[in-house]
């Protein structure tokens, strides 16, 4: 991107941050709003990780919540029992959480990623269930983890600042990854593994890259999550939770980061909004409306909200200083346009 554009984006994002932070600090946005906003930031990190794995690399993972959980428990156990009371502890815990989740993704990825798409889904599903069962029974091995009783008393260290800044950093990092040659390799693997292989791209290596990075991000998100709700319980990381995040990624549009971001925001607001809007007698219709919306979305717009289109501020500008300003190369699925080379 041109320097001017980068500065503009940074400035606007910083301005948004300052405004929101002020609103929160002065209690104009009460703690409920603050909670929702922070949750949205955490969820964006989590969902972007899955988008990397599934949207960009085409690896159908149905067990993403397991990495979220590994991150949450790791970070919570660290801040509660191991790390001293300093401001450094939180980032250290988060980083360790991410690494732990990343390592597990690596270990499980090696055998599983060789499988074809549907089978991968089932294997990751199975893995997710195994992890959840392990969380439920963790207290037989490490009593402090609580098992089904949950792990309470996690210090509430996630503030708006942490959540927002980390989210922004992750968005930048993922964007840079996606628009690099590695990112193009991921897409190549998604589109046609064999062709990619012929072109000298090692599919396994890139699948692992996506999978481990996605797991790492989920781990960090999990750590933030644990310190946002101050409580960790195995039921927060079950199969249905993996489906939730998958749905958000699909609804947003596979291969579109902005889609994931918008869908995350929209989904959380929809669920919370329905909570407020529906009167008491028909509160249970909330969970009926939600899948209907889902089905309608799929029927009407199967490619997801953004399809594979990216909002332009995330896309790189053209390298050639040419007359056709604004015609940036899109990362769409082999569609009609292509980066035309101007003479």
């Amino acid at each position: 991107m041109k320097r001017k554009d980068i500065l503009q984006v940074l400035a606007i994002t910083a301005a948004v941050f300052v405004v929101l932070q002020a609103l929160i600090a002065f209690q104009i946005l009460n703690p409920y709003y603050e909670l929702v906003i922070e949750y949205i930031c955490v969820f964006i990190i989590y969902a972007l990780g899955l988008n990397l794995i599934y949207g960009f690399t085409g690896q159908f993972s149905l067990g993403h919540a397991a990495f979220y959980g590994i991150g949450a428990y790791t970070a919570a156990m660290l801040t509660k029992f191991v790390l001293p009371d300093s401001w450094l502890s939180f980032p250290v815990a988060l980083l360790t959480a991410g690494i732990a989740a990343g390592v597990v993704s690596f270990l499980i990825g090696v055998p599983i990623l060789r499988l074809g798409s549907d089978y991968l889904g089932i294997a990751t599903l199975g893995f997710g269930i195994i992890v959840k069962v392990m969380f439920d029974n963790a207290d037989s091995v490490i009593p402090a983890m609580g098992g089904a009783r949950g792990l309470a008393g996690v210090p509430r260290l996630t503030t708006f600042a942490w959540a927002f800044i980390l989210m922004a950093a992750v968005v930048v990092a993922v964007r840079n990854l996606v628009y690099s040659s590695h990112g193009r390799a991921l897409l190549a693997v998604r589109e046609d593994e064999i062709a990619a292989n012929t072109m000298g791209i090692n599919p396994f290596r890139y699948k692992m890259l996506a999978f481990v990075t996605g797991g790492f991000l989920a781990g960090i998100a999990g750590g933030l999550y644990a310190h946002l709700y101050a409580f960790v319980h195995p039921s927060m990381f079950d199969f249905l939770k993996s489906i939730d995040v998958l749905m958000v990624v699909v609804l947003g549009g596979l291969g579109s980061m902005s889609g994931t971001i918008i869908a995350s925001v929209g989904w959380i607001i929809l669920l919370e909004g329905l909570r407020s809007v529906l009167p008491a007698e028909i509160l249970d219709w909330r969970m009926v409306i939600y899948p209907v919306v889902l089905i309608l979305m799929m029927l009407l717009r199967p490619k997801g909200l953004m399809g594979d289109v990216e909002l332009s501020f995330l896309k790189p500008g053209r390298v050639e200083p040419s007359a056709s300003a604004g015609a940036s190369p899109s990362l769409g699925k082999g569609g009609e346009q292509s980066a035309s080379i101007e003479a």
Binding site: L115, I122, L125, I129, I194, M298
Partner: protein, 294 residues
């Protein structure tokens, strides 16, 4: 030894119940490459229909099963028409998400008070439980009925698939939709018929399951559905005898783990077996090694 045999019998009962659900999954996957997440919930509806027939209408076992099969067929075919058919040309993931949506919808809608309600209902058994003792091992008439009916349905299914024109069409469509169409096969009808057959089995399975484990609630289909799906994959998804084999193995794995190791690890072991099989033999135990065309 007696203890072991008893556990084996327990495993058989469980396995055959999974088989009834797994067959539906495997057939649908074979023909449209879709993991029909809503299948477990069709099974649940079957159980509730059976409940209605037995508890409210006072019918016997066989009419209840037939009614469940009929209504579930209607349900399954409707789902296919409304939710899956429009997405046949769309990316596969859209159909999958829709399937998840349908599943959630069925669960939460039926748990609304004016439909089935969220309560766990005791399922009335239309026949008394009679235990037979063979060499110290207890075998109940319920178990015999379940195993018998499952085998019967399996044979009927195999017959349909291998010996009838419809079955031929189903096999053709599962190879290649367009070529089958060129050969004069009504693809839409065939797919609907596949869903119908699968849902019919799920409906019957629902009633039988409810007789074996006499308690129903709107969310009862999730876990059996999942495990049955795993069983189908284990045996080779798209292959009918594979579904039965996979289901039986799952049943044995679960019960033997509970009986000899610990019930806590039961689910973990079942899924671990799945992962191992997928790593060693990805197309499933009875699956054919597919060649990938470039």
């Amino acid at each position: 030894m007696v203890y072991f045999l008893q556990q084996v019998v327990n495993g058989l009962q469980l396995g055959f119940v999974y088989a009834l659900i797994a067959l539906g999954y495997t057939m649908v996957y074979g023909i449209v490459r879709l993991i029909n997440f809503a299948h477990g919930d069709v099974f649940m509806v079957g159980a509730f229909v059976g409940f209605f027939a037995i508890a409210v209408l006072g019918w016997g076992l066989v009419p209840a099963v037939v009614l469940a099969m009929l209504l579930c067929t209607v349900l399954g075919v409707s789902i296919e028409r409304i939710a899956y058919r429009p997405l046949r040309r769309a990316p596969k993931i859209a159909a999958l998400i829709t399937a998840i949506g349908v599943s959630l919808f069925l669960e939460y809608f039926t748990s609304l008070k004016f439909v089935f309600g969220p309560d766990y209902r005791s399922f009335p058994r239309p026949i008394e439980v009679v235990n037979f003792e063979i060499g110290g091992v207890l075998l109940s008439n319920i178990q015999i009925i379940i195993i018998g009916v499952s085998i019967l349905l399996l044979i009927v299914l195999q017959y349909i698939v291998q010996r009838t024109k419809l079955g031929l069409a189903m096999r053709a469509v599962s190879f290649d939709h367009d070529t089958a169409r060129l050969m004069g096969v009504d693809v839409d009808f065939t797919i609907s018929a596949t869903f119908a057959l699968g849902s019919m089995l799920a409906g019957a399975g629902g009633v039988l399951y409810a007789i074996a484990y006499p308690q129903i609630n709107p969310f009862m289909g999730i876990l059996p559905g999942l495990k049955a799906f795993v069983a189908a994959v284990l045996g080779g998804i798209g292959i009918i005898p594979g579904a039965l084999l996979g289901a039986l193995i799952m049943g044995q794995a679960e019960t033997l783990t509970s009986g000899y190791v610990s019930t806590t690890l039961r689910d973990a072991v079942a899924f671990a077996i799945l992962i191992i099989v997928l790593m060693v033999r990805p197309s499933g135990l009875l699956g054919k090694r597919g060649t990938e065309k470039v």
